[in-house]
Amino acid sequence: MKEQLLELEKKAITDLKTISDASELEQFRVTYLGKKGLLTSVMKRLGELPANERPEFGKLANRIKTNLSGLLDELRDKISAKAAGQETILDVTLPGRAPFYGHLHPLSLIIKDVCQILSRMGFRVVKGPNVELDYYNFEALNIPRDHPARDMQDTFYVSDNVVLRTHTSPIQIRVMETQNPPVSIIAPGKVYRRDSDVSHTPMFHQVEGLLVDQHVTFGDLKGTLTCFLNEMFGPDTRLRFRPSFFPFTEPSAEVDIRCVICGGRGCRTCSNTGWLEILGSGMVDPAVYGFVDYDAEVYSGFAFGMGIERLAMLKYGIDDIQLFYRNDMRFLRQF
């Protein structure tokens, strides 16, 4: 008889799952829990049991009754709520309660990339002043006062001897002045040139690099920059080194990469040459060692510098350099 009771409960729960409206619910109540219902009729046969089994049986019957009534009530609530259109249904497509989030400036992102790649290769990051002495910006970089090389960079002057640095290269001198080789540094920062048109802003960013040690070769320069540019622009990036002139390096090399826009077929970005100028570099000129008291017979090294705006424009496909300094949210939000 106990088994019969448990069987009944099982069946009732199964039935309950099929119920979808109030009339079926009432039907169920009558069938199982009504005065003439199945549970009542089983309980009426309590007397047929031996007296010692009766309390246990009674307990079980009561538990089942409570359980079923509970389930019944729960279902009744659901059905009536549904009938009244009040049930909560989670709309997963509603926007969440989002906190604000911001964006890094694209130039910061590129500087971060460049510094990360070069730091991994062993270069340390250093900083220098923006308002620089003529000596560090020009003189000690082998750009004497009356030399036409000064025309390569249009300079903002603060006084006769103080300028807004026109490149990050003065940091080379500042570092070599204070430490002996080996030197392996990179220096990101703002630089200034008196030049403002569609493709120039009077302030822009550069990252400078310098490695000085025994036995550093031009081949090492090629290897280091090849490694760097392959990480920056992808492993298939083709590059070329071509002769150029910087007063503080000799030999000097301009580094071009295969145009990332047209793949070398020629387009407006690369002025139809298929190549993009990306870096200036070269072996440190012995004249520079003279200014910092390094022995050019013992040490050799290379230096390189690159414009961050140009890297960012190529990497993100930005066609207007002025956008970097207008700080329009419609621009910044894209990075």
Partner: protein, 812 residues
């Protein structure tokens, strides 16, 4: 510098396309910045013979011509003054397109039909000449298209725009570029033709030259041609000058410019008859001397300026520009031609000081070939007598006190290979240098047994003075692309990353996490910004570093604050309805430390919030920003980088902030920045009167001092905490922090934390008092506190608050 391909071909055989040549030059270090066709889109234009010329019935400025176009006779209306029956001129029929894109159509010109057009040189883009129609060589058949290979005219050409680095003055001439092409292609250089028939009087009878300043002028040569006939230069010369961007003046001046471009030697032609005493004296100017250059400008000179003078007065600014008083005019019959070498530094200083840069000064200041001075003079005389006739005086004057001796430079083969990472042989190195016209000799190797060469560069290679210069030439000719790629093993240097370097990255990352977007603005601002920010007279905001040569007045001083940049950026964005902004800038400000000194450069972090704190959404109402939004962001930032003991206090000298809604920020007692609402005056000054902006500014150096160098782990509390709440009515002037201070002082080490969980600012009618509710967490480090002792302490704390603040417990 722009030069024509056809011109280059005069001096070296070129058997490759213009494109290929361009690549070759670029890879040799002579960067081609542009390559443009010229005279190549003349397919629609043919030679036409002018058969008859009749006056236009309506106007005498026009003529009506019948021309033979090869395909028939057509009528053309033309306004050119040089029309001549029987001559040939370029003709474009209706439907033809000119190089500038114009399409010709039949048209009625003041009542007379014109079936096409006779063309001037400028209309075909050949030169800038528009004085009449172009007259073609008479042997052409009518109908010959101009596009075909018209040998004598060489119309089809390419123009290279070369970017010449300052170390290579020898490349500033067509011959110099041709020489480089010859060297890299293994061809022979063909030098320009010089034919001189001296028929005149000996030069010594005609002119005298004295150099008073041999430092400024180490060499001066001159020649005289008498009885020249001034006129237009021939088409070929005008065309080459035009392609190089030089205007044609007359045949004498054109020759000087032509030879300047051809050989890189600036020349000057004087009207011989206007030179007093037939003398040339090279001397420094007197202080205060003035001189009228041939552009009509009066130039005031210093004793640094080098002058060319005749027997009485200055006649030219040496190496820069001639004078009005001796220039070639239409009356000129006799010419004295100058070819000299002037000291680069002297010319550069004078040119810079006068702000006068010319083709001549550009070359002199870089250094010309001192050995080429007389060759260029003879070339020019040869051309002048060919184009303008005249009688060349016999002999030339050549004052050259100290002969040039080429330097002997030692070159070590092993040093070369060690620097480049190559293994070049001595013979290979010798070959590369000899291709560049260098004189290479073996050196006795006894000294240190190393293979060495002694190299003398040619006189036009003024850039080569040291071993390093030679190594560069070896690398260049060997080819950078052939140098093997190797990888250095980078040894750690003595300095590590600067300590402030990790922080910018970390702070930027936290700021974007807090919802702020990074901006970067110019380091220079308007000098008005100090006033716009409401800075006091003594404020450091006024310690501007001025720029002597700014591009614009609003970029003429270095910034002393990031606020101007950030407010301008707010303006830019508000203008297109971006109102809910959260921006920050990490950057330097600059404070003047004294003239001729570097300024104090400080790194600041500045952030701004405008608009709504919370937009209206499906789950909440909108809320505008207030002080606690910006303060909360700042507190979150400071907590995230590990700063403790942050206090906010009212300050009086917060220039640009609203005094009622701002505070100074300190960490462990030292000031690190400011926070608050921008005053309405400042917002007005920036045209943002409708916007409320909340700012914070943090001095990064001050912040760095407060960041703990290392972090130490603190064990968790072992014993339970006991919580007690207080709700207290206070005068509204009493600041919450003062209550918390009282609690902490009184409760000492048993106070774990004090939190404010409620604020009631009184009813609308009575705002004299406010209620603050605090939850105090009591905890001991070494035992479980019992209720009674906590209650005892709590009571005494309440008494203390009452006593010190005059507050009272709030009921219920």
């Amino acid at each position: 510098m722009k030069i024509s391909l056809n011109w280059l071909k005069d001096y070296v055989d070129i058997d490759m396309s213009a494109d290929e040549l361009g690549r070759l030059l670029t890879m040799a270090g002579l960067e081609v910045e542009g390559l443009e066709p010229s005279g190549q889109s003349l397919d629609d234009i043919v030679a036409a013979r002018i058969l008859t010329i009749a006056p236009h019935p309506e106007t005498d400025r026009l003529s009506v011509c019948q021309v033979d176009t090869g395909a028939g006779t057509v009528q053309v209306v033309c306004g050119a003054p040089n029309l001549a029956t029987g001559s040939l001129a370029p003709f474009a029929a209706a439907g033809a397109t000119l190089p500038n894109g114009t399409t010709i159509s039949d048209s009625s010109i003041r009542g007379v039909m014109s079936h096409g057009m006779l063309l001037a040189e400028d209309e075909m883009g050949l030169t800038d000449d528009h004085t009449g129609v172009m007259i073609l060589p008479p042997n052409l058949a009518p109908g010959t298209p101009l596009s075909s290979d018209l040998k004598p005219l060489e119309l089809s050409d390419w123009v290279f725009d070369l970017s010449i680095t300052p170390n290579r003055p020898d490349w500033t001439s067509v011959l110099g570029v041709a020489r480089e092409i010859a060297a890299i292609t293994g061809k022979t250089l063909k030098r320009p033709e010089i034919i001189i028939e001296e028929g005149g009087a000996p030069i010594s009878e005609l002119a005298r030259v004295t150099i008073d300043d041999p430092v400024g002028c180490p060499r001066y040569a001159a020649g005289v041609i008498q009885g020249v006939e001034l006129g237009f230069s021939p088409f070929w010369m005008r065309r080459r000058l035009f392609l190089s961007g030089i205007r044609s003046i007359n045949n004498i001046v054109d020759v000087t410019n032509y030879v300047l471009l051809e050989m890189g030697q600036p020349l000057h032609a004087f009207d011989y008859d206007r030179l007093r005493e037939n003398r040339i004296i090279v001397r420094r100017a007197e202080k205060g001397e003035t001189f009228i250059t041939l552009d009509g400008e009066t130039r005031s000179l210093t004793s640094e300026s080098l002058m060319i003078c005749d027997g009485e007065r200055a006649v030219a600014l040496a190496g820069i520009m001639g004078g009005l008083n001796s220039e070639i005019t239409s009356d000129t019959g006799d010419v004295l031609l100058e070819s000299a070498f002037f000291d680069p530094v002297t010319i550069r200083r004078c040119s810079k000081r006068l702000g006068l840069s010319t083709e001549a000064s550009y070359r002199f200041e870089r250094g010309i070939d001192i050995e080429g001075v007389t060759t260029a003079l003879k070339r020019a005389m040869s051309l002048i007598s060919h184009l303008a006739g005249g009688n060349i005086a016999s002999g030339i004057i050549d004052i050259y006190p100290r002969q040039y001796t080429p330097p002997d430079i030692r070159l070590r083969i092993d040093k070369t290979n060690r620097l480049l990472g190559t293994s070049l042989s001595k013979d290979a190195v010798r070959g590369y240098l000899e291709a560049l016209e260098m004189d290479v000799r073996d050196m006795n190797v006894s000294e240190d047994d190393r293979v060495q060469l002694v190299v003398s560069p040619p006189s036009f290679r003024v850039d080569i003075t040291r071993e390093a210069d030679l190594i560069e030439e070896v690398a260049r000719v060997f080819g950078y692309e052939n140098i093997p790629v190797t990888y250095p093993s980078i040894r750690p240097g003595q300095i590590g990353d600067a300590p402030e370097l990790a922080l910018p990255g970390q702070i930027r990352q936290i700021m974007i996490g807090l919802g702020f977007t990074e901006i970067i603005t110019y380091s220079f601002i308007s000098p008005k910004s100090a006033d716009m920010l409401g800075a006091e007279e003594a404020s450091s905001l006024r310690k501007f570093v001025p720029i002597l040569n700014p591009l614009a007045i609003d970029q003429s001083v270095m910034r002393t604050s990031l606020v101007p940049g950030i407010l301008n950026t707010v303006g830019v964005n508000v203008a297109h309805y971006e109102r809910d902004l959260r921006l920050f800038e990490w950057g330097k400000v600059f404070f003047q430390m004294g003239e001729d000194l570097q300024p104090d450069e400080k790194v600041l972090l500045t952030a701004v919030m405008t608009g709504l704190s919370q937009k209206k959404s499906w789950h909440c109402d909108e809320r505008t920003l207030d002080f606690y939004d910006i303060k909360g962001a700042l507190e979150a930032l400071l907590a995230a980088i590990g700063l403790k003991e942050i206090t906010f206090n009212r300050e009086t000298d917060l220039n640009s902030y609203d005094p009622e809604c701002s505070a100074g920020v300190s960490c462990s007692g030292s000031a690190i920045g400011r926070v608050g609402q921008v005053s309405s005056k400042v917002m007005e000054a920036y045209g943002l009167e409708k916007v409320s902006a909340f700012l914070f500014e943090i001095d990064i150096a001050a912040l760095l001092k407060e960041i703990p160098a290392t972090k130490r782990f603190q064990p968790f509390a072992k014993f339970p905490a006991v919580y007690r709440d207080i709700s207290i009515m206070l005068n509204r002037e009493v600041e919450s922090a003062s209550v918390i201070d009282i609690v902490k002082k009184k409760g000492a080490e048993w106070i774990e934390s004090v939190e404010i969980f409620d604020l009631y600012e009184g009813s609308k009618s009575d705002r004299s008092e406010k209620a603050l509710a605090f939850r105090i967490s009591y905890r001991s480090k070494d035992r479980t506190l019992d209720g009674a002792e906590v209650n005892h302490l709590h009571e005494s704390i309440i008494d203390e608050i009452r006593l010190k603040t005059g507050g009272r417990l709030r009921e219920g």
